[in-house]
Every structure is written in C-alpha cells, then in structure tokens.
Amino acid sequence: MTQTERQESRNPAPLRDVVRVLGDDGTIVDPTLDPGLSGPELVALYRDMSRTRILDERLLTLQRQGRIGFHVGSLGEEATIIGATYALRPQDWIFPCYRESGAAVTRGLPLQAFVDNVFGNANDLVKGRQMPDHHTGRAVRFASTSSPVGTQIPHAVGVAWAAKLRRDDVVTLAFFGDGATSTNDFHAAANLAGVFRLPVILLCRNNGWAISTPVERQTASPTFAEKGNAYGVPGVRVDGNDALAVIAVVRRAVERARSGAGATLIEALTYRMGAHTSSDDPSRYRTESEIRPWVERDPLERVRRLLEARRLISRADDDAYRAEVDRSFREAVAVAECTPPPGLHTLHEDVYATPPWHLVEQREALLRGSRPAAPPRTV
C-alpha cells in the first residue's frame, strides 16, 4: 500500500477532513481559508521553500563527496516546515526535530552559521559538538536539536508553560515526525499541554515513514490528529504539501494559544521523498512507484504555479534567485572548509557553567598529550 492509499483507506472520504487551500495545479481551492499573503510575501515564501530545497540538495552532494559526515533532508516537506515557520511571530519558539533546519535559516540563522554547523568548525555555534544539521539558534528562538526522537516536545511544553506563568505573549511550536507519536515524550507532553491549557502547537509531520517503519506500524489509530482528543487537545489535519493551508492552520493554532484556549495538535500529511538520512537506503523497504504520486503534489511546484498565474515571478527571476542561493552557499562552503576545527580548549567547555577540577585536569592532560592519528587506524 502506498502512503496515499494508506491515507485514503483510513479515511472513508479521502482528504475531506484535511484542510487544503492550494490545489496541485496552483489554484486556490478554498478561498475561505486562504491566509491572504501579499504578493511579496508569497514570493518570499516560495523563495524560503526553494532555498530549503537547494540547500538540502547541496548538502547531500557534499555528504556524497565525503566533505561532510552526514545529512538529514526535508525533500517534499518544505511546505510544512516553512509554512509553519511563516505562521509564527518573532517571539515564538521553535523546537525542531532534526529535519527542520530550513526553518532556522528562514528565521534568520545566517547562511554562514548554517554551513559552519555542518562542517563542525571553529565558528560553528555549537562548537562542533553535534552531527551536521543539528542546529541551535538562540537569537532566532530555535531550540537545540536532539537526535533522539520526541524529546523536544516536553521542552516546547515547558517554555509555553513558563511564558504563560510570566504572562508573556509567547507561543511554542514543536516539530516531530509520525514516529515520535509513539514515544513517551509525546504522550507526556500532549497530556501536560492539555491539562494546563498551554500555548503550544504540536506539529506532527506525518511523512509516511519513520526510517523503514510505515505509519500503520506506529499506530492503529486512523489518524494522528485524533490522538489529541485523548489529551483534550484538538487535532486538525492539514495537507502538509500545501504551504498556504499549513500557514492557515498554524496561524489558527497561534490565535487559539494566545487566547488562552490552549494547545493544538496538527497532523500535516506529507511525504518523505528522500531517504531518512544520508545513511539510509529506502530501496530496502519501499518502491519508486510509491513516490510518484507525491511528485505530482510537489509543494514547491504548487506555490510556483500560483506565483506564475499571478505573474509574481518569472522563470528568469526564479533562475536568478536559485543562482544567488547557489553562489552564496558555495562562498559559505569555501569559508567553512578552510576554517579550522574547534580549538582543543573547547572540548571541556560548557559541560558546566564553570569547569570543575576534574575537567580542568582532563583539559590540561589533553593539551599536554599527543594528537590522534588521522584518519583513525583500522585493524
């Protein structure tokens, strides 16, 4: 069964309860829900989605060339990631899974910082301590990315809780995949969000797969959205490949949170068109034919068709923008590649606010000692 069929077999009236604004052909199918972005805003949205995909492709290439160690992409999920980001205000916090680095750039994480992270060099904001694509951006209210699944959801709940206690107008949004809904942390977080009516948005990217595990192995529930009912958190399904629909539902969730009514669980129906990560081989568990219908639903193409129909962008504009992203990316890579790795002194920093005696001793021993052979020896 394909992801499309799975969704439809669970849903007697296919996609009827799924919010849609923008059709596959780029026409507005539901004007009542259209978030009403201006022309320049639509162009910016398209460009942020487009940049996300370009960076994704370029990073995968770097990984295949052996220049970076790892990549986790978001091919096909750009409408969910960037649309949700568009619906938030600057003071709102994003708690990412590991597939939303496009959101960090869209929020203003400088491209050089983004690229320094994947190289783990001396200028990396997280000092080369995480695998590539595990971004942190305090300045853009982007929390630290964790590899374990679902762990960020209670943190989003906690920030929302603190903001509510402080009477601050702040909403948090946690991104997570369908696999995360099976974790203890999802359950715990949704429950707390419901009990304490917290201003948090739980955004499940239902992309069909958790590595090789299809959604029907995650849950026997017909939808992920309805899991919210168990926690007193309303659930809503949205076409996750429809950026305008995602903006509409996340904006509604922000308003609900601000009004004091509490949390919303959003299930964005999308599809992970790429591998789980650069370390994955999807041919072992799914066929190319499953991907084909999702090519037709390409979230970028939909917005581009809308922009062309409204004469907001020309093919030449688009090409020029893509060339500009490419150029600035190449420049950032050139800088990042000749930036040295983090200094040895950083290895023992930030474990505690001030290094205790044992870390001071270990750092001194490290600095006195010899350096490892590179690359590591093999037997």
Binding site: R138, H187, A189, Y352
Partner: protein, 324 residues
C-alpha cells in the same frame, strides 16, 4: 536558632527559595495539596499558589522534560521525583537532554534546575522505595549530585543548588527525614557545593560517607575509638564534583581509607573514590582501601538491615584497615 528535622529544613529552604525569586517553581507528583508524600512541600501551595507549586500528572519524563523547557525560558524549576526509584522513567530526559543542553547548544542555552528526590533504605520500602542511585548520575557529564546528612546542610545545600547555574540532582536520605535534627539558621544561606565536611578528626583511618550512612560511620568511629583506633570521618555533602582536596589531605595523613555507601558495590561511587585516592596519594597508603557498601543485589524487603552497610559492618572494616 530554631531546631528542625530534615523535612522541616528542606521545607524552609523551599519557602525561602520561592519567596526570594519569583522564577522559582516547585513541581511534581502530589507536591501541592498533600504537601508531598513525605510532606517536604507542605504548606507551600497555600502560601505561593498553584501556579508556583504544581501538582503534575504522573509522568516523570514529562515532568523533567517540561521543567527543562521552563529552565530554558529562565525559570528555576525545583522538581520533586517522589522516590529516587522513579527517576528512571525520566532518565532519558535527564541524561540526554538536561545534562547535555548547555554543551550541545555550544553554551547558547542552559537549563539550571534542581531535581529533588528521596533516596535510601531502612524504611521498610522494598526495592522500589529504597534505592540510592547516585552513581549513574555522577557518571553523566553535566550533572551535579548532592546528598545532605544534616538539616543545616539540607537547607543550605538546597538553596545553593537552586542558585547554581547547572542542573543538580539533590538526593534526600529519607531515613533521616525525621530522624536527623539540628539547628537551622533562619532565612537565606547557602552551604557551598563541592565542599565536604570533616565531622570527626583522627589520625588512623579516613572514613568517607554521606547521607544516612554518615551516622553509621560515626557510630563505627566511636566504637573504633574504644579500641584505640581514631578515625577521620568525612561527610561528602556534594558527591559530584567531589571535594577531592579534603579527601586527599586526610588520606595523606591517615594512609588508610574506608568508603561507605548504600548503593551496590560494583561500579558504585566508592570505586571512583578509591581510584581517585589511588591516583593522587597512592604512596601515602598504608593499607588497601576498603569499600563497605550495599550488596550487588536488588534492594531487599525483609532483610534490608542485612543489606545496608551499617555500623556493625563498618567497624570491622575500619579495624582491619587500621591493623593491616
């Protein structure tokens, strides 16, 4: 100075912490209306309201995870985990998230908070109300681990932990909750973390203990004195980072070391203490270091007094160390 037991001293510390800083929040299972199953939080909800003294749903991972978020926002949560034995459902949040948040974010974020939890046996609690789980937390970079033995230290260490920028696992020896009594200063004061206390001085053997086992070590030291062996007894107070200077100075003087803890022996904190002493003052040692600990078994119910490393087991170890 008023005399208090440890529950009263901790309660007083929480009241002071809540009163002096509105960013402090007390949260956990049953901490509000009932005042905690040991009454450590009694009366706080009446004084500070249910927004700051929060009865939470029953999910330790969720409590700690949400508290991490609060800390990221600049609050100082004081989480109560009802028993140390129930820290395990929160272990992933503590180990992979709380302890690493500052490091993995390059210092962009930090999550200073306190997790209080009652630990230790001797209260007929069986294996799910008696464990003393310091070692797994000491092993995790990024955490501080504290274990007071007196009401004075309980209050002062808790207030120091609340103010500390790093996450602190605050282990409360439940056997001492009402048994330990002593003078406790009014208002705010701190006992600095990372400072051990020399409770008894003697030239022959160094005995290291903490929590409820301090009193067993002191009892053994008194009995050893009757046999002519004078011990130095050190109450660690902060288990990690440990006050290595005080330990090393004492072993340099005595040449003999006995380490006492309730937790199982293998890979217990005693192993680390012995290793540290050997690395630093090996040539001052006159006898093999000795560990007196719980057994490498789950904590038993009926035979708990046999399991615990009480005075009757510490005394022979002290005498053996002194005479070898």
């Amino acid at each position: 100075m008023p005399k208090m037991n440890m529950v009263q001293a901790l309660n007083d510390a929480l009241r002071v912490a809540l009163g002096r800083d509105e960013r402090v929040v007390v949260m956990g299972e049953d901490v509000g209306r009932v005042g905690g199953v040991f009454r450590v939080t009694a009366g706080l909800i009446e004084e500070f309201g249910e927004e700051r003294v929060v009865d939470t749903p029953l999910n330790e991972g969720g409590i700690v995870g949400a508290a991490i978020g609060m800390a990221l926002y600049g609050m100082t949560p004081i989480v109560e985990i009802q028993f140390g034995d129930y820290l395990w459902p929160a272990y992933d949040q503590v180990v992979n998230e709380l302890a690493k948040y500052r490091y993995r974010s390059g210092g962009e974020y930090s999550a200073g908070m306190v997790i209080r939890t009652p630990v230790g046996g001797g209260i007929r609690g069986g294996h799910y109300h008696s464990q003393h789980p310091e070692a797994p937390f000491i092993h995790v970079p990024g955490l501080k681990v504290v274990c007071p033995a007196t009401p004075h230290d309980a209050k002062g260490l808790l207030l120091a932990s609340v103010r500390d920028p790093d996450p602190v696992i605050f282990l409360e020896p439940k056997r001492l909750y009402r048994a330990a009594k002593g003078e406790v200063p009014d208002g705010h004061y701190t006992v600095p973390l990372e400072s051990a206390r020399v409770v008894r001085s003697g030239p022959d053997v160094t005995v290291i203990a903490y929590g409820a086992m301090l009193y067993e070590a002191l009892d053994a030291a008194a009995k050893a004195a009757e046999e002519g062996v004078e011990c130095t007894v050190i109450d660690l107070r902060t288990l990690w980072p440990v006050d290595i200077e005080t330990i090393a100075a004492s072993v340099r003087a005595t040449g003999r070391l006995v380490v006492v803890h309730e937790a199982p022996r293998t890979c217990g904190f005693g192993a680390e203490l012995v290793a540290l002493v050997c690395e630093r003052v090996f040539y001052h040692l006159e006898a093999p270091p000795v560990r007196v600990t719980g057994f490498d078994t789950p904590f038993p119910y009926s035979l708990e007094m046999e399991y615990l490393p009480l005075s009757h087991r510490i005394l022979p170890a002290v005498l053996e160390a002194a005479r070898s």
